[in-house]
């Protein structure tokens, strides 16, 4: 059974690429366009990994990450934070609140795929 990836980002222009890419890599993909939807889909879709944008309406990526990490049932969920903020302090915060990886936009799609696969133990 293929692994499931949830893409949570409010920018359709990046979502389209990520969705295409992940599908091409053989993942099951779902999309959420704000923080609340991301939490709902994390429950209903039960993804193995979530690509989580920091700047989202309703709930920020940080909040979503914290909420997910507070749920022991989701301990195996991998979280990759995507952000347009490149500051050291934010990277540190993301990792501190439980993200498995922190990717700054713009990024290389190849590297992202490699990272996702390695997190899912597929490399």
């Amino acid at each position: 059974m293929s692994k499931k990836i949830l893409i949570a980002d409010d920018e359709p222009n990046i979502v389209i690429s990520l969705e295409f890419l992940m599908k091409k890599e053989g993942f099951d993909v779902a999309v959420a366009v704000d923080g609340e939807e991301a939490l709902a889909k994390a429950a209903s879709f039960a993804p193995d990994l979530i690509l989580l944008d920091v700047m989202m309406p309703k709930k920020s990526g940080f909040e979503v990450c914290e909420a997910l990490r507070a749920d022991p049932a989701k301990a195996d969920l991998r979280i990759v934070m995507l952000t347009a903020k490149g500051r050291d302090t934010e990277v540190a915060k993301g990792l501190a609140i439980g993200a498995d990886a922190y990717v700054t936009k713009p990024f290389s799609t190849k590297d992202l795929v490699i990272q996702v696969k390695s997190l899912l133990g597929m490399a």
């Binding site: 920018e11 990046i14 690429s17 713009p106 990024f107 190849k110």
Partner: protein, 718 residues
């Protein structure tokens, strides 16, 4: 033992010496004789006794005379000389001992006089050295004060209590601009000699910096501290503190006796920096998301060339969209950014010739285009951003060289009123106005560098103008830059002229520590506010109102004519026509001025921590007191009245009117009957009265108050 007693004893001793041996011999002979012999002797002696007694008395008289003479010369003479020497030692240095009496005494007197002469020579030498040293100290003080007043930074020097000892004009202007609310009517009353710096700056911040400096001093580091503070009006000030150190007399660390504060208002700088930061932020982080989308879309397009056309179309659309958004963002940011660049470069005063020389050098060196100067006024100052102006000149020179192959350039300046003309002249072909228009509007490039500004921007930044003009007769054409002439700061000059030298400093304030008013301090040591009011009439209880308050400060026995308070007050009632000639204040002058509710708090702040002085103070104080309920302000400090003090000093004079006193004390004042001028006159009177009071043993404020109270005039009530 007194000289007279000693003389009497000497006389007695003389008498005993003259009679004693005869009496004793006679007694012994008498005892030895028989009865008959004694009878014979009595017979012989009694008949001759008068002669013997006479001789003895005569001899005694001569003896007393000689004794008296010796006594006069050697005892009283020397005592007199001793008094004279004492006079020489103290009261009258120039006195000399009179040469009198016997030669030995005269010799002694001569030696004493020689000693005195030698002493005088030494003392004169010391005096002249002290005078010299004082003069050089005074000169250095003046030099320092002059230097401070020229500085472009606001500088304030304080002692350890935070009292202001010294400040420059820039500081006065800066704090005047900062002062909010009622103090603005007082013309920046916050800053003043002897005032506390803590009314302007946060006390704990200043003290914290002092602590840092002490630590740095003891660690042998350079003593310096910085802090940023917010004023009541929300302005941000960056303050730098360096210590004033005492001269080191012995081994060990120099002690901090005060500090110098350099104050800079950074509110605008910070705002600009925040704007630039924002611009930078939106350029970097704002571009990340868009660039991320583009990069991912492009990667997909490259990695999966076989994708279906509809999907390909969507990816291309993403790239197009995001690229357009980024361009827009760049434009917006640059727009904002160049605005903040404009505000970042303030115009400064430069010599026109300096701008021209700089442009000439660049044009000669880089363009190999020779240039000359004709008719340049070497003393013409302009307000300019010299960098952009030189860039503009070079830009035009390069354009002319490239497009019209000109052989040389000439510079010329002239000025008309507030406008300076800087002409860039060349011989040859005329250019079309369309060409010039293009040159004016495009962003400038010169010598391979480009500017973010157009020629038009540079001109606008200077608030100037530029045009192209032809001189057909001479086959010449020129560009004329119109720029503002830099006017000297007239306000500053006026103040200096008025007083000879700046009064913004007072180093003697270093000596005083805390200054809550102590009535037992010397009159000459205290800080005073001399003030006067003009009123609509003489009866405050019947509705007369204050229409002007004028005040000046006396610090360290000096009247500070630059730290004054002068405010006309709207009495909110009609003026009495008969009073107008007295105070010279008309309805027109009063309308639109603040009312007493606004002025009184400012005046209250102005005279904080000082003793008040007024002429006929009871009158002015009555007016102030009647406002206590309305404004809630009480003037509780001690009040000295020059009218009463004058009566103390000259109790037998009939009049103690201000004019009369001024004349009596030899003070000449130009104009009077204006509150400020009368306050200044009152201050002069007070300063003259202080030494006269001191002669009468009235030295402290308490003594002055008591003496004033005792005079007859104190009983007059308004």
């Amino acid at each position: 033992m007194k000289a007279k007693v000693r003389f009497a004893i000497a006389v007695v001793v003389l008498g005993l010496l003259m009679t004693g041996p005869f009496v004793v011999t006679s007694f012994l002979v008498w005892v030895d004789m028989g009865e008959s012999e004694r009878q014979i002797l009595i017979d012989l002696l009694v008949s001759r006794l008068p002669i013997g007694t006479m001789m003895t008395l005569f001899g005694f008289g001569i003896g007393v005379g000689v004794l008296h003479k010796l006594f006069k010369q050697y005892v009283e003479g020397l005592l007199g000389m001793a008094e004279q020497l004492r006079l020489m030692l103290g009261a009258n240095r120039n006195f000399r001992v009179k040469l009198d009496g016997p030669p030995e005494v005269q010799q002694l007197a001569r030696v004493a006089n020689d000693l005195a002469a030698q002493r005088d020579a030494l003392m004169d030498d010391v005096d002249s050295q002290i005078a010299e040293a004082n003069a050089s100290v005074e000169e250095e003080k003046n030099r320092l004060a002059a230097l401070m007043s020229e500085l472009a930074q606001a500088v304030v020097v304080c002692n350890l209590d935070g009292r202001i000892l010294l400040y420059n004009n820039r500081a006065r202007l800066q704090f005047k601009a900062l002062s909010q609310g009622p103090t603005t009517v007082a013309g920046g009353a916050l800053i003043g000699l002897g005032r506390s710096i803590f009314s302007i700056l946060e006390k704990n911040q200043v003290e914290h910096s002092q602590e840092i400096i002490r630590q740095r001093l003891s660690n042998g580091k350079s003593a310096l501290a910085n802090f940023v503070t917010t004023t009541r009006g929300g302005q941000l000030l960056r303050v730098q503190m360096v210590p004033v150190l005492s001269a080191v007399h012995e081994e060990g660390e120099a002690k901090m006796t005060g500090y110098v504060l350099t104050v800079e208002n950074i509110t605008r700088t910070l705002e600009e920096e925040a704007r630039r930061d924002q611009a930078l932020h939106s350029l970097t982080e704002g571009s990340r998301a868009a660039l991320g989308s583009i990069r991912a879309a492009v990667a997909n397009l490259i990695d999966y060339p076989e994708m279906d056309p509809e999907l390909r179309e969507r990816f291309v659309k993403v790239v197009d969209d995001e690229a357009a958004r980024m361009s827009q963002r760049l434009d917006d940011t640059m727009g904002e950014f160049s605005d903040s660049m404009k505000t970042r470069w303030p115009l400064e005063d430069v010599l026109a010739i300096d701008v021209i020389s700089a442009a000439q050098r660049r044009i000669d060196d880089k363009l190999k285009l020779p240039s000359k100067i004709e008719d340049v006024d070497e003393s013409l100052w302009i307000k300019a951003d010299s960098f952009s102006l030189v860039f503009a000149l070079t830009f035009l020179a390069e354009r002319l060289l490239d497009h019209y192959q000109i052989r040389d350039l000439r510079f010329r300046t002239s000025h008309e009123g507030k406008l300076a003309y800087l002409d860039l002249i060349w011989v040859g072909q005329a250019i079309s106005s369309e060409t010039f228009y293009t040159w004016e509007m495009e962003t400038m490039q010169a010598l391979g560098e480009s500017s973010s500004l157009s020629l038009r921007d540079v001109i606008d930044r200077h608030g100037g103008e530029i045009w192209y003009q032809r001189d057909k007769a001479a086959h010449r054409a020129f560009f004329r830059f119109v720029l503002p002439v830099a006017a000297p700061e007239t306000e500053l000059l006026d103040e200096r002229r008025a007083t000879g030298r700046p009064e913004y400093y007072d180093f003697d304030l270093f000596k005083f520590e805390d200054q809550t008013i102590d009535l037992d301090r010397k009159l000459s040591d205290l800080t005073y506010t001399v003030f006067d009011t003009e009123t609509t009439g003489l009866e405050p209880s019947k509705g007369d109102e204050i229409i002007q308050i004028g005040a000046a400060r006396i610090v360290n026995n000096r009247l500070l004519k630059q730290e004054t308070f002068n405010q006309i007050v709207d009495p909110e009632r009609p003026l009495k026509p008969e009073s107008i000639p007295i105070h010279g204040i008309t309805e027109d002058m009063v309308r639109g001025q603040p009312n007493i509710d606004i002025v009184l708090p400012a005046f209250h702040a102005f005279c904080e921590e000082t003793v008040l002085i007024a002429h006929n103070a009871a009158f002015d104080m009555r007016f102030l007191q009647l406002k206590e309920d309305r404004t809630g302000l009480r003037f509780t400090q001690p009040v000295l009245d020059t009218l009463l003090l004058s009566a103390v000093v000259h109790p037998n004079q009939e009049s103690h009117k201000l004019d009369v006193i001024l004349e009596r004390l030899g003070i000449s004042i130009d104009t009077r009957h204006n509150a400020l001028e009368d306050a200044v006159a009152t201050g002069e009177v007070f300063l003259k009265l202080v030494p006269l009071l001191e002669q009468m043993g009235i030295v402290t404020v308490r003594q002055a108050l008591e003496a004033a109270e005792k005079t007859y005039f104190a009983r007059i009530k308004y």
